[in-house]
């Protein structure tokens, strides 16, 4: 056979053919974990300019570069103080095992930052492990209890998620143990669907009243966040501000999930990059930038990503998948178990199966043993410390004494798409496609 004559179709590459054939045999959409796999414009397409003759840098390790951030300055009596602008995103007990939750809690606490609950409510262990715990208020209200609201340090009203804006949750039966079933008041072993809309409010006017209710219940103490998947981000940000949010969490389309239909993961929402810019524009237009804090998530991996999100105007970022990777998600260990799932380290997205080869997204006690919570906490701490150092290093190189002093003017774009989306010039030009 003449190999040169064998050409793969760009329209039908092998993974597309495989999906068509899977659909033909199963008759149901594919549900999986993790985030979008398609390429999208990201923070990789931006670079910092660094100091030069016109600007001077700060001395690394000697001159101070602060990283603290306060969230909830608008209305909350007790705003939360984070030592670093990097938080751990909402991931439910149920999707994650108890060891993973504990590791994230202790690791984040060691760095002075927050973790977040998820669908299914708050566990005692999680409250104990996390010095600062944000409590998610989700459409399903599984496990939602007023005592937990009162125990939380902040409340996050989830209107949507980057992996599935407009979609509800899913926890497949294989992950529903007695404890998870009991927390959610549902029978064991069923495929749990979570509603996509809140049961008692729709639209911005209702949301305003909902926020008022949550404040009344908690005596106006706690910061209230609103989390939305990135779609019509400018409008959503404005409406969230109008509804009275203390902070807004914007989750880009790359954002991870424990289990969602692939068509949602890959085909709905906009990338994190343009979403940050749109959210900041909305806040500035309302004169609310830094008054209502902006937390950004979806595909955050490095200190560079953090610094770039902050430079575009975010107050903090939030991390899901990468924090699991710090706990060995997709690490080349227990390879035979990845193979048994039909995948390999580096390509795993099988959180939905409950058979996580490294013991993170599982409720199976044998698999869970593969994640030592203490060691895990140390790894999360190390990872967050590295991100913080990287972010500070970049900020100092741009001459900034606080990471929040980074600004869009410190960056240029390497591609036209990123230039247009982030509204920074294409490198070596003054050109912002679509804007100048």
């Amino acid at each position: 056979m003449d190999e040169r004559k064998v050409r793969e179709s760009a329209t039908f590459p092998p993974h597309v053919i495989a999906e068509i054939q899977r659909a033909a045999s199963e008759g149901l959409y594919y549900i999986r974990g993790a985030g979008a796999k398609r390429p999208v414009p990201t923070f990789d397409d931006l670079v910092f300019l660094g100091a030069s003759i016109s600007r001077y840098p700060l001395e690394g390790y000697r001159e101070k570069c602060d990283t603290n951030v306060t969230i909830g300055t608008r209305f909350a009596k007790k705003p939360i103080e984070l030592k670093i602008p990097i938080t751990i995103a909402g991931m439910s007990f149920g999707a994650l095992g108890a060891n993973a939750k504990q590791a994230l809690g202790h690791g984040a606490s060691a760095m002075g930052t927050s973790t977040t609950t998820g669908d299914g409510g708050m566990t005692e262990e999680e409250r104990e492990a996390s010095d600062i715990l944000v409590y998610q208020y989700l459409p399903s209200r599984y496990g939602m209890e007023p005592d937990q609201l009162r125990k939380a340090d902040a409340i996050e009203v989830v209107a949507g998620q980057g992996a599935k804006p407009g979609g509800g949750g899913m926890l497949l039966g294989q992950k529903i143990t007695d404890r998870v079933a009991q927390m959610r008041t549902l029978p064991k072993g069923i495929d749990q669907r979570s509603a996509c809309r809140h049961p008692d409010w729709t639209g911005p006017d209702d949301l305003e009243i909902k926020i008022q209710e949550l404040r009344e219940i908690t005596d106006w103490e706690k910061p209230i966040y609103i989390k939305v998947g990135a779609t019509r981000t400018k409008f959503d940000t404005m409406l969230a501000v109008k509804a009275g949010a203390d902070a807004i969490v914007i989750d880009g389309m790359q954002g991870g999930t424990a289990a969602t239909q692939t068509c949602f993961i890959e085909d709905v929402g906009i990338p994190t990059l343009p979403a940050v810019r749109q959210a900041v524009e909305a806040l500035k237009e309302l004169d609310m930038h830094r008054e209502v804090q902006l937390i950004v998530s979806g595909g955050m991996r490095t200190g560079g990503d953090v610094a770039k999100a902050l430079a575009l105007g975010a107050d903090a970022v939030s991390i899901g998948m990468a924090s699991l990777m710090a706990l060995n998600c997709n690490a080349p260990i227990y390879e035979e178990d990845y193979h048994a799932l039909g995948t390999r380290p580096g390509s795993c997205h099988h959180c939905h199966t409950g058979k996580c080869p490294v013991g993170i997204t599982t409720q199976d006690p044998e698999l869970e043993k593969r994640l030592d919570p203490e060691l895990g906490a140390q790894r999360v701490r190390n990872y967050l410390a590295t991100l913080t150092l990287e972010c500070q290093t970049l900020a100092r190189a741009c001459g900034k004494s606080h990471v929040h002093n980074l600004e869009p003017e410190d960056m240029v774009a390497l591609t036209m798409e990123a230039a247009a989306m982030a509204r920074v010039p294409l490198a070596g030009t003054d050109w912002i496609p679509g804007w100048s």
């Binding site: 399903s140 007023p146 029978p187 069923i190 008692d200 009243i209 009344e216 219940i217 005596d219």
Partner: protein, 228 residues
């Protein structure tokens, strides 16, 4: 009886008073709230066995997330009355708007008149007794607890229901996906009798019909594609 007048106090001050009094030693545990005038979030997040009466119509989320208290709304209630109630009782003497007792985990919610759409949506253990009828999509995704409807039920009653038990005396316009009529045994008649008694509603429990889950949608199956 303590009197809190919303013409003179902000809702915020009324709620804070009710929260802070819970830790106090006053033996008079009865409160009346005057001039609610449709204000939202009145008497929310109570966690003490107070007896609170709201004299007039309340706005959204009155008595929400209640624990232990008895809250009576002497009038009509807006959206999400007794939302996520944990225990205690919330009693609306008049009518209730949408999503009454939504996601309630426990306790008793009584609506004297009709309740609008989505009554008992995602209920998780609460008992609901409605003197009149309930609107469409009531008991949607109802997980646990009981709903007793003395009048009729609107369209798609009990859609995607889990383990809650529903009882209707009148007609059901249509049943939602996976909701079916089930046999009304003597133990169910007793359950309804007990709930009617607790609600103070005079009706013959033998006249009710029972509805619940066919449990066909509990796991994703290709054969059920039309329901998803």
């Amino acid at each position: 009886m303590h009197t809190l007048d919303l013409d003179r106090m902000a809702v915020r001050d009324v709620n804070q008073r009710l929260h802070s009094d819970a830790a106090g030693t006053d033996t008079d545990q009865r409160y009346e709230i005057l001039n609610p005038m449709g204000r939202h979030a009145i008497a929310v997040g109570l966690d003490h066995p107070f007896d609170v009466t709201v004299r007039g119509h309340a706005g959204y989320y009155c008595g929400s997330m209640n624990k232990e208290a008895t809250v009576t709304i002497d009038g009509n209630a807006g959206v999400g009355v007794a939302e996520n109630i944990m225990s205690g009782t919330v009693h609306v003497t008049g009518y209730a708007s949408q999503s009454a007792a939504a996601t309630g985990h426990g306790g008793l919610v009584v609506i004297g008149g009709d309740a609008s759409a989505r009554c008992g949506i995602s209920m998780k253990g609460v008992d609901i007794v409605v003197g009149g009828s309930v609107g469409h999509m009531s008991a949607f995704m109802a997980q646990s607890g009981h709903m007793v409807v003395c009048g009729d039920a609107g369209e798609s009653f009990g859609d995607s229901i889990y383990e809650a038990q529903l009882f209707v005396r009148g007609s059901v316009e249509s049943l939602g996906a996976d909701c079916i009529e089930k046999e009304m045994g003597p133990e169910h008649v007793e359950t309804v009798r007990g709930l009617l008694e607790r609600a103070g509603i005079d009706a013959d429990p033998a006249e009710f019909r029972r509805y619940g889950s066919a449990r066909q949608l509990y796991n994703f199956k290709i054969g059920n594609i039309g329901y998803y």
